[in-house]
């Protein structure tokens, strides 16, 4: 699954090989998050169901906080909600504010 994500990141989202490998490795750590990412890839939107929910957040809800963020940020936020919610607490509260 990691390879498929790497391919998507490099070919479609134009990530560098190093960046793609780094983020794909984390997204592929959890099958449900990786599957959701691939579902997004297939649909190119967040309107699928059933949708994975972590701490009350779905990919769609996260994207609604800031429609400018890319899919990697959306699913990495889900990853962090599972691994270390504090890491993304501020982003979710401020709508991914830039400082």
């Amino acid at each position: 699954m990691s390879e498929e994500i790497v391919k998507c990141l490099t070919d479609e989202l134009k990530y560098s090989a190093g960046d793609a490998e780094y983020y794909a490795k984390q997204l592929a750590e959890y099958d449900d998050i990786a599957n959701e990412f691939l579902t997004w890839r297939k649909n190119q939107n967040y309107d699928y169901s059933p949708a994975l929910e972590i701490d009350g957040w779905t990919a769609k809800k996260i994207h609604e906080r800031n429609r400018n963020i890319d899919a990697v940020t959306v699913f990495m936020t889900m990853y962090w909600l599972r691994v270390d919610p504090d890491y993304v607490k501020s982003e979710l509260e401020t709508g991914f504010a830039v400082k």
Binding site: N66, N68, V72, T73, D86, E91, E93, T94, V98, K99
Partner: protein, 516 residues
């Protein structure tokens, strides 16, 4: 009079036996000369061509690379002041004084005055034949003869080229390219050297020393001025200039701020960049040369080979942009230690400054400005803190720090608007704490950025190198929010802001509770 120069009395006269009239020449057939033996000989067969070639076996400019000493043996008109003529424009003005014309033709000005245009055109044709391989027409050849022969035209061409080029640039190119300059530039250089009565090598050396001294003087003035203005930033210096400044020992002037650390800082960024782009540096030749110097300098300083240096930067970049669990833990621990240094009294003071209604954000920012400048020892950096009271055109930006202008801005009004929108269903008190939290968070965040910037300038340890490289190769949120958020500088600042904001809010709520 410099050695090697001769007086105008020795100027070769125009060919007195040449009976061809100018009118006849004008009407003459323009057919090019086919016989290669008829093309003018050049004394410059040793001169490098425009093709720079392989420099690997090149040691230093030598006499044999230069023009021989068969150059003109007579005095020419004085060159016009540099800058008066734009490149490509004829150095021979339409109107010359009788004296100047006399210098050209040895006293036969009455014969030649109407024909200066022809002289100019002849020199142009001769230039094309020498440098561009274009054959001379029969008319051109006849004109050359009429003007006194090839020797005279050749000298005119040298003069033309000497006026066309900037001497400083030619000398600099001669040294930086190890003698490999274009033929035209070499002719110009040869002319200047002859005028000074020196060999090209000696003349170039002498003039390079002069320009270096001038450069040092210019840097001296610039750095003194920048320092006086409080905006001294040696980042604007090239490595060469930094070297010059370092080597230049002048009484009464200290170049501490432009010393080793700054030089290393610039070298780091360049070496990192070179490695990131697989050695394919895009940019000016000066930039590429800087990269080369930077790598050589760092290899020497760090006792590493170039490949080891590359490996080192790749590893450093991984820690910056692709943090692992240890890197993240290190960030948390580092920020915790920073926060521990802030006395609780300072945090309480900031909370107090909000006033009874908890809305005097400007006062809180002012208090925190003092706190963070003291904590990070930034009092002398000249950071200007701005509280923006407009919420227009912020596009998700809560604040920023500009290392160039040293402006630290907190978009307080915009933060308040965002919080009110996000928590419109919450009570006023809750919204107020969110606003306080975010403003305090943002100011701590931006002050840490300022500190990172200054730390990178003053320290060459691993952290300093990371800040320098991250600052140089900064990823904006527009590129990818995840990448933006993960890079060292933002990772630390987000951590710092998040923790600090909560602390101010806790203090505020505690005091508010106590007041009730």
């Amino acid at each position: 009079m410099a050695q090697g120069e001769r007086t105008s009395a020795e100027v070769a006269p125009a060919d007195a036996d040449n009976n061809t009239s100018w009118d006849e020449l004008d009407k003459a057939d323009e057919t090019p000369i086919d016989n290669p033996e008829d093309t003018p000989e050049s004394d410059n067969s040793q001169v490098e061509t425009d093709d720079k070639g392989d420099w690997s076996d090149f040691d230093a400019p030598t006499e044999k690379d230069e023009l021989g000493d068969k150059g003109p043996q007579y005095e020419l008109i004085e060159p016009l002041p540099m800058g008066e003529l734009s490149p490509g424009k004829s150095p021979i003005p339409d109107e010359l004084t009788s004296q100047e014309i006399g210098q050209i033709v040895g006293g036969r000005e009455s014969a030649i005055k109407p024909d200066l245009k022809r002289l100019h055109n002849t020199v142009k044709a001769y230039e094309a034949s020498v440098f561009d391989g274009k054959a001379l027409s029969a008319t051109d050849r006849a004109l050359i003869a009429r003007f006194g022969g090839e020797k005279f035209i050749k000298e005119q061409l040298e003069l033309t080229l000497a006026q066309r080029y900037n001497e400083g640039q030619v000398i600099s190119a001669y040294y930086s390219n190890r003698g490999r300059i274009s033929q035209r530039e070499m002719w110009a250089l040869n002319y200047w050297a002859k005028q000074a009565g020196k060999s090209v090598a000696n003349y170039a050396k002498e003039r390079m020393e002069y320009y270096n001294n001038e450069k040092v003087r210019a840097i001296d003035i610039a750095t003194t001025q920048l320092r006086a203005d409080g905006r001294f930033d040696p980042d604007y210096l090239t490595l060469d200039e930094a070297d010059l400044v370092m080597d230049y020992d002048q009484d009464g002037l200290e170049y501490d701020a432009c010393g080793r650390i700054y030089r290393e800082r610039r070298a780091h960024t360049l070496a990192y960049l070179a490695d990131r782009d697989n050695g394919q540096i895009k940019g000016s030749p000066a930039m590429q040369r800087d990269v080369d110097l930077a790598i050589r300098y760092l290899c020497r300083e760090k006792h590493r080979s170039a490949s080891e240096l590359g490996e080192y930067y790749r590893e450093l970049a991984e820690h910056i942009y692709h943090p692992n669990a240890n890197d993240r833990a290190e960030t948390r621990s580092y920020v915790d230690n920073l926060i521990k240094k802030i006395p609780q009294a300072e945090i309480d003071r900031a909370a107090d400054s909000l006033g009874p209604d908890g809305k005097n954000y400007a006062a809180m920012v002012k208090t925190l400005e003092h706190t963070f400048k003291k904590l990070f020892k930034l009092e002398s950096v000249g950071i200007k803190v701005i509280i923006d009271t407009s919420d227009e055109d912020k596009e998700g930006t809560f604040g920023f720090y500009s290392p160039t202008s040293k402006v630290l801005q907190v978009n307080a009004k915009y933060i308040e608007t965002c919080m009110r929108n996000d928590y419109k269903n919450s009570d006023e008190e809750y919204v107020a704490t969110k606003v306080i939290n975010e403003i305090a968070d943002t100011i701590a965040h931006e002050f840490l950025h300022a500190y990172q910037e200054e730390y990178g300038k003053l320290h060459s340890d691993k952290r300093g190198e990371m800040y320098v490289i991250n600052g140089f190769d900064y990823i904006s949120a527009e590129d990818s929010y995840s990448k933006y958020r993960d890079q060292t500088m933002e990772r630390e600042s987000f951590d710092m802001g998040g923790k600090f904001g909560s602390m101010v809010v806790s203090s505020y709520l505690l005091k508010k509770g106590g007041r009730r």
